[in-house]
Symmetry: C2
Subunit: 653 residues, 2 copies
């Protein structure tokens, strides 16, 4: 009884606050506000406009454009020491990895070294992630070979094509950043990225069969069927020397990785593994003259730092369109991986990485890189993890790595003459096995089956189809899922919680009770053209269902439909039309409609489209409870038993 | 004071009901339920499964497949009379319109008559709209000419191509219906359709300049610039006879239309206008021998009903792909217009049109039509409006129209020999002016500016670019808008309403009061991969903003963030990760996080992903009010003044 009284009191007290139609705002201000929220959700100018004084503002703006100005002023010797250790460690991985990935892209090995020099310098100035280490990506390298390999047979022209694709990738990346279209990268879901990267890593590992088995000719396809068939069909050409050496180094590297995983303090072992392998392999081949006994080696590498490649860019050749396409696809993949890597480390350390800034940094890296004989660079996971584990503090570690690579380019390249290719294959396989994140797939299965499906679809698409097919599947399923979510929003029946004025979902709370003669529905999404039709039909189906139940129980008929609009964030012209249609439909069946808690945008649009007048101001309520109380007192329409029979309004005239 | 006490009581009473993690449901049942909601939201089998007894169920199933079985049993003589009047009226429009549209598609005029016979019969059996009148569409006809006109110079092969495209349009439409993909048509928003149809109507009118000016050669482009240039550059070839006759009939038809709009009772005048014009024009030309004086006429039309065209279908020709593409595009447009027309009349009369059933009906119409010398048919607006105004009751009116057209084909075709083409142009222009719905554009401007933009974009795209460009713009903007809505959901600060336990948006309700030390935020959308990153940043920005304000006012620091999850319909793996990151981030700043009213799906997924354990069961509440009460009593963490300064967790080790 007390509860009842209380509810009524509560209702009366709150009834003073009605849902009002908000005053019209100036159109330009609304547009400006919406554009701001869409393209500048992080409010990047706040840091600038908050500062007082002209000089301080200019400084803040400079800091915004060049993130290095944020950490340089407070840079200390101890931080430098950390960065030097990390930079040198990463360089010891970057040199063999760079050479390996360049081979994967069918480019001269030296390009892999060039690519760890200039772009890393650019990132040190422009980058906002403290852990990201710059370099070529395995997937990007493989995509270069797969997408542009058949365009030309001349190695020089192919290299020029690679620079051109890198240039366009950079332009595309920087363009996205400047236009603040960072959210496009967000459309690739985590599940899609896990599946795609895992599939790409599998494909890259399979490609290493060529090196590991010592084969000279190999299929240019990347799918598992073609690769295995190519390897098996040439079984008479397998070289045992390559196999033994390769497997030996692979076991060595995997053991180091296993140890460093078990005892994180020994991670330097794993980080130094590739360099140790390269040195050991080179010495071994030199001693046994392996290059004459079926163990292919890298051969001569040119001394000296990056030459200019501005003149190589093919901006108006018949192959330009292929380069543009390759650039855009690899550019997106580079951004997706790089930003994901940067963000996950940033989250670990508790700071934020600005996606749009990172895009501009990546774009500049590739534009400048393409003019200095570098090909596509991003922030690969393996290298960044080593950077993080070695204790880097700022992007300065990238500069240190770049200097170490520069020294290698100037003085140490002859040492790589005898490095066996099979060691590079072992290094690639070890790096790639770390990218196949089967544990993440397991977590996806637990949390969300659809995500798991997206992940497996992308993986199988890459492994059995091609990298592009896998990417299309990943993007396609992700977007289709978003569209389906909008097209099929949830509607739920609410019931009254005992001893409370709250209404909650009856499927979730078993104690929630329906109110006789009323049907309370909640719509859990904006009402848009894509779902207005569905929602109308679904609501009518709820009403049919309710009436069937009422009939079966012989209770009083349905008098009023209460729609909880609290979760309806927005409505468009189709949505207001839907409400109008619904109102007219229900009027014919003698059912009243009441709206609870509509937002101010909804009120304004209902007012503009005259739907508000049709429904009636008195049927708009602040809470579901008030709506139900009012409806119970004021609905005196028929018994509702005749609503099932259809009456043509034209017949009544 | 009473209010205070009441609130506390209310909270205590409701505290008994906690938010529980729902028991795990069997995976297959969940998948089954989701598939059902996605593809069968209208529960089409309910009518069948509800019936008791085998025979009644079979009958219900038959009724579902053949909608004509629903109205045939109760068909009366009086209904027949209404349908005959409507059918004959529509036929009087269908004959001249059919001939005109076939000319628009560059096909033999007789095909337009064929197309009003067989497909209309099919729709009478399969259709579920009572007002839709079947026939060729102006836009579809123009698209046929624009997309396939350049493929071949032989009229026979072009006709075969048209049949093939019609066949594929039918297969595509029926396929969408059978696969229950009706929601794809919903992705075309009302605004996009208004703009696109208006643009297409404008383009069709412009094309009539050729006939009105009596020109022989004319541009094959459809954009306004090319058409006007072509017409003006040939001004020395304009024939005054054509112009005078054309303008005369145009004025006549427009006057009739104006009168029938002012006085709806006289609508028969407007419906009979085209036939009257054709008769008057033919008699005039016959009397003055106009065909020799610069007034082109239709010429001979073959007598007899539709010949078979099965053998003409080009299923494996070099042009087949063009036909497939044309078929799919025109098929979608046909569905979009037809279903929109059917639904709007159904809503007027208070019954439902099943989109998937309509798709199957349209598909069969076009598949059977393509085998009987018909080209693309749908449910054009002009014809259906006449059908509705003439008082049709059932799809039988289509059968009556078909019979009337059949009689025309068998006996009356010679009468059209002298019909001047310019009259056909006048008929097309009159019909098309009715499709340009500038009033709808005005309503869009009032209700939703973005919708208006979509509409204008599609219109300008069609008029200044091409029909395909306009369609791409319409679909592109629509989909981009949906994606943007998901990528940028709204977050709002809630405040406590006076004398109530309710929390409402502070920007909407000025009386809502913030609770000291607490920030209450509502998220108005599911948390998905596409918005997880944005939401994390936006929430952190709200907190920063709140702390700035607190600092400025010298108040107590922020203690707790309460997230109202009531409107979060779903969450995916990225979403749970976002909550985890947020929790860790806030922990560092010494801010507690509380969730209010999460749905059962959210609870399950948070539980599976271990986020629930991280946040703590005791911080999940049924209502925002309870969360705030609990937080005020239990948050004793720091003063919150040190949260702005960043503390590297690694430095603390």
């Amino acid at each position: 009884m007390v509860g009842q009284q209380q509810v009524a009191d509560d209702g009366a007290a709150a009834a003073a606050a009605r849902v009002a139609v908000p005053p019209a705002k100036p159109l330009l201000r609304t547009i400006g506000h919406n554009l701001m929220e869409t393209f500048f959700p992080d409010d990047p100018f706040r840091a600038v406009t908050r500062d007082k004084g002209r000089r301080r503002r200019a400084l803040a703006a400079l800091r915004y454009v060049f993130p290095c100005l944020e950490w340089l002023p407070s840079y200390t010797l101890s931080t430098l020491w950390h960065d030097v250790v990390a930079g040198v460690t990463v360089a010891s991985l970057a040199v063999p990895q760079g050479i390996s990935y360049a081979k994967l892209a069918n480019l001269p090995p030296i390009l892999g070294l060039y690519s760890s020099f200039v772009p890393a310098m650019v990132y040190a100035v422009m980058g906002s992630s403290r852990e990201l280490a710059v370099g070529n990506m395995a997937v990007g390298s493989l995509l270069f070979a797969a997408m542009m390999g058949k365009e030309t047979s001349s190695p020089e022209e192919y290299a020029a094509l690679a620079f051109t694709a890198t240039f366009f990738a950079g332009v595309f990346q920087a363009g996205l950043g400047v236009l603040r279209l960072g959210f496009i990268v967000d459309l690739l879901s985590h599940a899609a990225i896990v599946g795609f990267m895992g599939g790409a890593a599998t494909v890259v590992c399979l490609q290493q069969l060529k090196g590991m088995l010592g084969l000279v000719h190999f299929t240019s396809s990347t799918d598992i069927v073609a690769v295995v068939r190519s390897a098996v069909s040439q079984s008479h050409l397998w070289r045992w020397q390559s196999i033994v050496l390769g497997c030996g180094f692979l076991v060595f590297l995997l053991t180091l990785r296993y140890i460093s995983k078990k005892k994180p303090r020994l991670f330097l072992l794993s980080a130094a593994g590739p360099l140790v392998s390269v040195i050991a392999g080179s010495v071994l081949v030199y001693l046994i003259h392996g290059e004459h006994h079926g163990i292919p080696v890298i051969g001569e590498l040119k001394k000296g730092i990056n030459p200019s490649s501005v003149k190589d860019l093919l901006l108006s050749s018949p192959h330009t369109m292929v380069a543009v396409k390759t650039g855009i696809i690899t550019g997106i993949i580079g951004l997706a991986e790089g930003i994901a890597v940067g963000r996950s480390f940033a989250m670990l350390k508790g700071y934020n990485v600005d996606g749009n800034k990172e895009m501009i940094a990546f774009g500049l890296m590739n534009i400048i890189g393409s003019c200095t004989s570098c090909y596509l660079t991003a922030g690969p996971f393996s290298r960044s993890a080593v950077n993080h584990n070695s204790g880097c503090k700022t992007p300065m570690s990238n500069a240190v790595m770049a200097l170490a690579v520069m020294l290698t380019l100037l003085f140490l390249t002859p040492l790589f003459y005898y490095t066996p290719l099979v060691v590079l294959s072992a290094i690639i396989i070890t790096a790639m096995l770390g990218v196949i994140d089967y544990k993440a797939a397991g977590r996806l299965w637990k949390v969300d089956k659809v995500d798991f499906l997206v992940c497996v679809g992308a993986y199988l698409g890459v492994v059995f189809g091609s990298i592009e097919i896998g990417l299309s599947i990943a993007v396609g399923i992700s977007v289709l899922r978003l569209l389906l979510f909008i097209a099929r929003p949830k509607t739920m029946v609410l019931g009254k919680m005992p001893n409370s004025t709250n209404f909650r979902r009856m499927d979730q709370y078993t104690t929630a009770q329906s109110v006789p003669g009323l049907l309370v529905l909640r719509i859990d999404s904006p009402i848009y053209f894509a779902n207005a039709g569905y929602l109308r039909e679904r609501i009518m189906r709820w009403i049919d269902h309710e009436e069937d139940q009422i009939k079966a129980k012989g209770l009083e008929g349905l008098k009023c439909l209460v729609l909880d609009m609290g979760a309806v964030a927005n409505i468009d012209a189709n949505g207001t039309k839907m409400l109008e249609d619904l109102k007219k439909n229900l009027d014919r069946s003698g059912i009243q409609i009441a709206l609870a808690n509509p937002g101010s945008e909804i009120m304004r649009k209902m007012d503009n489209s005259k739907v508000l007048g049709l429904i009636g101001d008195e049927w708009i309520f602040l809470t579901v409870g008030e709506a139900c109380d009012y409806a119970q007192q004021n609905c005196k329409i028929g018994t509702g038993m005749d609503v099932v029979e259809y009456v043509d309004p034209e017949d009544m005239v």
